[in-house]
């Protein structure tokens, strides 16, 4: 690990001042990814600004929205009663990620800003356009089982590893930012970038710009949302494919609204906008679910070891939507107006 200066921010203004808009500065949360990358000398910041002392507040607002402090721990968010009741897909996504120990350390902002787990990014004896721009990508012809099938480029096929961000993408979470130039807010779907020719530029954040809070807008039908994750072992593994889903089905069995996002398939948490568009107004049937999944995956491209993800994603999307629909049907049959999601495992 290279030498660095360590400082502790007392508040947001202090953190922004300490970072000074410098690209060589990193904000430090729980350290679960950054410390590892520094030990491997993949990340070599000259200074670290510890922002774990900033807001960890979890606020449930009367209008159904929530505001989560950037330094809130992943465990605290998943355990929060209002998060569990209002946005079960978010609680489930967090709980499906990493291990108990890591969730206790990791912060909201750190989870959003974590970097890919592409093996070639971590191994500095290989070529990687993300680590060393312009050198090439050894994943393209290498072991690419965990790599992207959507939105990839010839320069980079890495995936964003977060589970939590998949739920945030589906929920249209708004990320509040602060820098020397002032405050702004970004929909999380605009925060992460696709790789294109510049895979080393992963987010829309400017150097020294700080995430201060994550706002989740109200979404009435998210109370029965689910998170489905498929991985190579039963627990403590990154997603091969994951799906965060919620649907609002009317009494005439047509789909009024839907939220759908995929994990493990792209350089960013993948909001399945094409599938959503195909579903809105369609009858809530298996045929509609399959057609929507096909619409989303029409442009999917497999590599030598990961082409299975295309069919896997199709099946997980359809299965998740059917589970949600069946749960509604059984609630209607039982005369219940409200019930708890039991999905996501």
């Amino acid at each position: 690990m290279m030498q660095f200066e360590y400082s502790r921010a007392s508040d947001v203004a202090d953190a922004v001042r300490l970072a000074g808009g410098q690209a060589e500065t990193r904000f430090l949360g729980g350290g679960t990814n950054l410390v590892d990358l520094m030990r491997e000398t993949i990340e070599n910041p000259r200074s670290l600004v510890d922002v774990t002392g900033l807001s960890q507040d979890i606020v449930a607002r009367a209008d159904g929205s929530m505001l989560l402090g950037a330094a809130a721990k992943n465990t605290a968010v998943a355990a929060d009663r209002d998060v569990r009741a209002r946005f079960p897909m978010l609680a489930r996504a967090i709980l499906n990620g990493a291990s108990g120990q890591i969730r206790n350390m990791a912060t909201m902002a750190g989870n959003i800003m974590q970097r890919t787990r592409c093996y070639y990014f971590y191994d500095d004896a290989t070529r990687c356009n993300k680590r060393n721009p312009g050198t090439g990508c050894d994943a393209l012809e290498g072991f690419n089982r965990i790599h992207a099938i959507l939105g990839a480029s010839p320069a980079c096929v890495a995936t964003h590893p977060s589970d939590m961000c998949v739920a945030l993408a589906a929920l249209d979470a708004v990320v509040h930012l602060e820098s020397a130039n002032g405050s702004r807010a970004l929909n999380i779907n605009e925060l992460h970038r696709l790789p294109g020719n510049t895979p080393h530029i992963e987010t829309a954040l400017t150097p020294g710009e700080l995430i201060t809070a994550i706002e989740i807008p109200a979404c009435s039908f998210a109370t029965r949302s689910i998170y489905r994750k498929v991985r190579d072992r039963a627990s403590y593994a990154f997603a091969l494919v994951s799906v965060a889903a919620a649907i609002d089905v009317g009494d005439d069995d047509s789909i009024r609204d839907v939220r759908l996002a995929l994990g493990g398939v792209a350089h960013k948490p993948w909001r399945a906008s094409k599938a959503e568009a195909a579903l809105r107004g369609a009858p809530a049937t298996e045929a509609s679910f399959v057609a929507a999944a096909d619409a989303e995956l029409r442009d999917a491209r497999g590599l030598h070891h990961n082409a299975f993800k295309i069919e896997l994603a199709r099946r997980v999307i359809v299965d998740a939507l059917q589970e949600l629909h069946n749960a509604k049907a059984s609630r209607s049959a039982n005369g219940q107006s409200n019930g708890n999601s039991r999905g996501g495992t």
Binding site: L28, G31, R84
Partner: protein, 187 residues
């Protein structure tokens, strides 16, 4: 910088690159906590901070100044063993023993998490008031601790025989050692 380990204060001057794990092992010779992968994949380095389990290999020590840190050495006062340690012996919860201190610390905090109602990926009803530590729940919650000898059945048996039984008992006391408990009650 002042570090509080197993209830005792230590004043140390350290390089900010020092991990909490290296602080414990190399600076304080508390070698009960083990370095397995040194990248957060195996859980051998699990310690408790204010009663909460973390991977000490991924923790920069400077971030934990003044916090109450408990290692396997602090789980009980010598020569006594913590009840979970005795259960590991009785149930063959280890072979080589390298992962054991991490398993012990992790399990103790895991049972406390369940007692506080924190759900897991396997919790059927997310909004349930209390958590029942079933066999599957326990395995899911302990998935951050690998045992390359494969002593999982013994580990699970030992945890079920002590912590789960204790969680199920009405009004049973906590599992956290005295130092962590004092910190908990002070918060």
């Amino acid at each position: 910088m002042r570090f509080i380990i197993n209830g005792r204060g230590h004043d140390l001057s350290i390089d900010p690159r020092t991990s909490l794990l290296d602080l414990l092992r190399e600076h304080l010779r508390l070698t009960g906590t083990k370095k397995g992968c040194d990248q957060g994949a195996c859980g051998a380095c699990t310690v408790l901070v204010d009663g909460v389990r973390i991977n000490s290999c991924l923790a920069l020590a400077v971030q934990y100044e003044g916090r109450a840190i408990t290692t396997v050495e602090g789980l009980s006062a010598e020569p006594e063993l913590h009840p979970l340690q005795r259960a590991f012996v009785e149930h063959d919860g280890f072979q080589c023993g390298y992962c054991t201190s991490g398993q012990l610390c992790s399990a103790i905090a895991m049972a406390d998490e369940a007692k506080r109602g924190i759900p897991s990926a396997l919790t059927e009803d997310l909004c349930a008031e209390s958590i029942s530590l079933t066999h599957d729940e326990l395995r899911e919650r302990m998935s951050g601790n690998l045992c390359r000898c494969g002593a999982y059945n013994g580990i699970v048996d030992a945890i079920e025989a002590t912590l789960v039984a204790q969680n199920a008992g009405a009004g049973a006391g906590g599992h956290l050692p005295a130092a962590a408990m004092a910190e908990e009650s002070a918060r």
